[in-house]
């Protein structure tokens, strides 16, 4: 069925009195990379575990490749958890062999840059190489769906670009990919984004959709340290970006007043807000509620 690869329909999950996931609906279609964003405790992991069929839903339904996420369907899925799921005391070859046999497929060939690591224990290898191996293991059986939990966490720039190359290549071949990430710049790599907060799906779509109505003001000044301290003390949601200080959801006039009172000369300018700022505002709202 060239339809939806992963689907969640009004999925809710409760643990006792705590609602981890609240009425979430989403889909992943072939050829697209969907980014799942959200702070810790937003419900991302619980949602993914339900979609993988690892835990049951309290209400609603999940679908994987047109049916319930059973073992047969899972064999057509590739999953790279945050912990990579590799055995540190086995070599690269041995890990790939184990994984390939588990999925009933042939052991994948090692790409050029990994051949020299073939006999090394995975636990001894640098993080970036470990991720590459984990990816290889997950892709060996040509899965139609990929679920990746923080695929590039802690990885350097070059390796990160290379990993996204791999992900894109899979999407181009028709696979559907669901990836969670904490690195907002990666959000640009995705076709579609989903933002979760407190178990609910708060925003969906492009980066602009996620940012929503959040605004930001950039404050440029020579005395950044003082300006930062002053605005922070005034309770404004400040952030540093490059040389400028950014304040989310703020009224430029109010900021100007505060800065003037402290004797700081600065130029203020409204700028497009970032996803981080949206998340910052969500976190603040949650704190005060």
């Amino acid at each position: 069925m060239t339809g939806v690869l992963l689907r969640a329909a009004h999925v809710t999950r409760r643990f006792g009195t705590f609602t981890a996931v609240d009425d979430v609906s989403m889909q992943v279609r072939p050829g697209e990379v969907v980014g799942l964003l959200g702070a810790n405790g937003a419900g991302k992991t619980t949602l993914i575990r339900m979609m993988l069929g690892l835990i049951a839903v309290t209400s609603g339904s999940v679908e994987m490749l047109g049916g319930p996420p059973d073992r047969k369907r899972r064999s057509r899925l590739g999953y790279v958890p945050q912990g990579l799921g590799l055995y540190g005391d086995l070599t690269v070859r041995e890990n790939l062999s184990f994984s390939a046999r588990a999925y009933g497929t042939a052991e994948p060939a090692l790409p050029a840059e990994l051949t020299r690591h073939a006999g090394a224990l995975v636990g001894d290898l640098p993080r970036g190489v470990q991720r590459q191996v984990a990816f290889l293991a997950a892709l060996a059986h040509s899965p139609e769906v990929l679920v990746l939990d923080e695929p590039t966490s802690g990885v350097d720039v070059l390796a990160r670009a290379s990993l996204w190359d791999t992900i894109r290549a899979q999407a181009d071949h028709g696979a559907g990919i669901l990836a969670t990430t904490h690195y907002m710049q990666e959000a640009q790599q995705c076709d579609r984004l989903l933002l979760m907060a407190d178990g609910r799906l708060v925003a969906e779509g492009s980066e602009a959709d996620i940012v929503g109505s959040t605004t930001a003001v950039a404050v440029r000044t020579d005395d950044w340290a003082q300006a930062f301290a002053v605005l922070n003390a005034a309770g404004a949601p400040v952030m540093l970006a490059g040389r400028a200080i950014r304040v989310a959801n703020a009224d430029p006039a109010e900021l100007a007043e505060v800065l003037e009172a402290a004797g700081i000369e600065a130029s203020l300018q409204p700028v497009p807000a970032t996803i981080e700022e949206r998340m910052l505002m969500l976190a603040r709202a949650a704190e005060t509620s």
Binding site: G83, G88, D89, S97, F98, G123, D124, R127
Partner: protein, 351 residues
């Protein structure tokens, strides 16, 4: 799945060692050391007819002391110092045979042999008149408990820091390594001491085990012994990366001690080729002290050997372990933490 597990097992040298070495060790021990049957006992003969009686004794009695001018008091002294297993006091009929009840199997064999002599000999068992196993075991168990707490629990406690990754932080803070060790060991020292107290009191209360000797000497001996085993715990922690490994290594040290320290099988009944191993263990010497003091009321002077050996062990083990630990904490040590995200491959040179 099977293949993977095998591959992982081969790499896990400690588990492999345990699986292969332990059965071999047990086989050797049970084969050569396990022996409840005592072939001969050390005997002393005192009193006016000493030489005659000594000559008449069957070969089972290995007469090491013949003292015609000796009295019963002298005989008892020999027994208290654990120099002999049985002392014959001649001069009256029937001959009085004083048996050292603190060496259980020797005593049992001796009594059996003496019974054959019938009314010619009057047998009296000292220190453990009913030849109760519990009386001999409880002093040994005290040592076992101390060994257990000292070695296993201490090694886990220190390895926990390494596993959690917090060892690195301690290394950087202005805190001396010796203080770190002391701070980590102190709670276990207290717990072990408390445990020892409880077991001793219970042993006396429940089984009627006597406490005939000097409690201060006992406490001193236990204290020194504790230092040895705690030092071993620190040593094990310096060579273990995870608590799993620490436990495995500790077991490796613990099991042979249980079997070869004289707690279960008497030392002198073991084949000489295996017996010497028993003398390497600290538990062996503690048992000498605890049985000596509790059952025989022996003075420190007669127990000088185990005391000295334990003290030397304590100094050597503790110093060595502390130095190794300090190397872990100080610059140049292999302080790479087993954190959640393994960092870049850095083959660490041994300083």
């Amino acid at each position: 799945m099977i293949l993977k597990e095998f591959r992982e097992l081969v790499r896990d040298r400690r588990t492999l060692g345990l699986l292969v070495m332990m059965p071999l060790l047990l086989l050797v021990i049970f084969g050569y050391a396990a022996n409840f049957y005592v072939s001969s006992v050390r005997a002393a003969v005192v009193g006016p007819q000493a030489s005659q009686v000594a000559a008449m004794l069957p070969s089972f009695f290995d007469v090491t002391v013949t003292e015609p001018s000796g009295t019963q008091a002298d005989a008892e002294m020999l027994l208290q110092d654990n120099k002999v297993d049985v002392a014959f006091v001649t001069g009256e009929t029937p001959v009085l045979a004083l048996v050292n009840g603190s060496n259980l199997f020797a005593a049992q064999s001796t009594v059996a042999a003496l019974n054959k002599a019938g009314s010619q000999v009057k047998t009296q068992v000292l220190y453990n008149p009913d030849l109760k196993t519990s009386w001999v075991m409880v002093p040994a168990i005290i040592g076992l408990i101390l060994t257990f707490i000292g070695t296993i629990v201490t090694s886990i406690g220190l390895v926990r820091e390494r596993e959690a990754g917090t060892l690195e932080q301690l290394a950087v803070m202005p805190i001396k390594p010796s203080r770190v060790i002391l701070g980590k060991i102190a709670p276990y020292f207290l717990v072990a001491s408390l445990d020892m107290l409880i077991v001793t009191v219970l042993g006396i209360a429940l089984f009627g085990v006597p406490f005939n000797g000097n409690p201060f000497a006992f406490v001193l001996g236990a204290g020194i012994f504790l230092f040895v085993v705690l030092g071993l715990g620190v040593a094990i922690s310096t060579i273990s990366q995870t608590s799993g490994q620490a436990i495995q290594t500790a077991i490796f040290f613990l099991v042979p001690q249980v079997l070869l320290s004289g707690m279960v099988f008497p030392l002198y009944a073991m084949a000489a080729g295996v017996r010497w191993i028993g003398y390497l263990f600290p538990l062996t010497y503690f048992i000498m002290i605890s049985q000596g003091i509790m059952l025989r009321g022996a003075p420190i002077t007669s127990l000088w050997l185990p005391f000295v050996v334990l003290t030397v062990m304590a100094v050597v083990v503790f110093t060595g372990a502390t130095l190794r630990f300090r190397r872990d904490l100080a610059p140049g040590g292999p302080g790479s933490p087993a954190g959640q995200q393994p960092s870049a491959a850095e083959t660490v040179s041994t300083a």
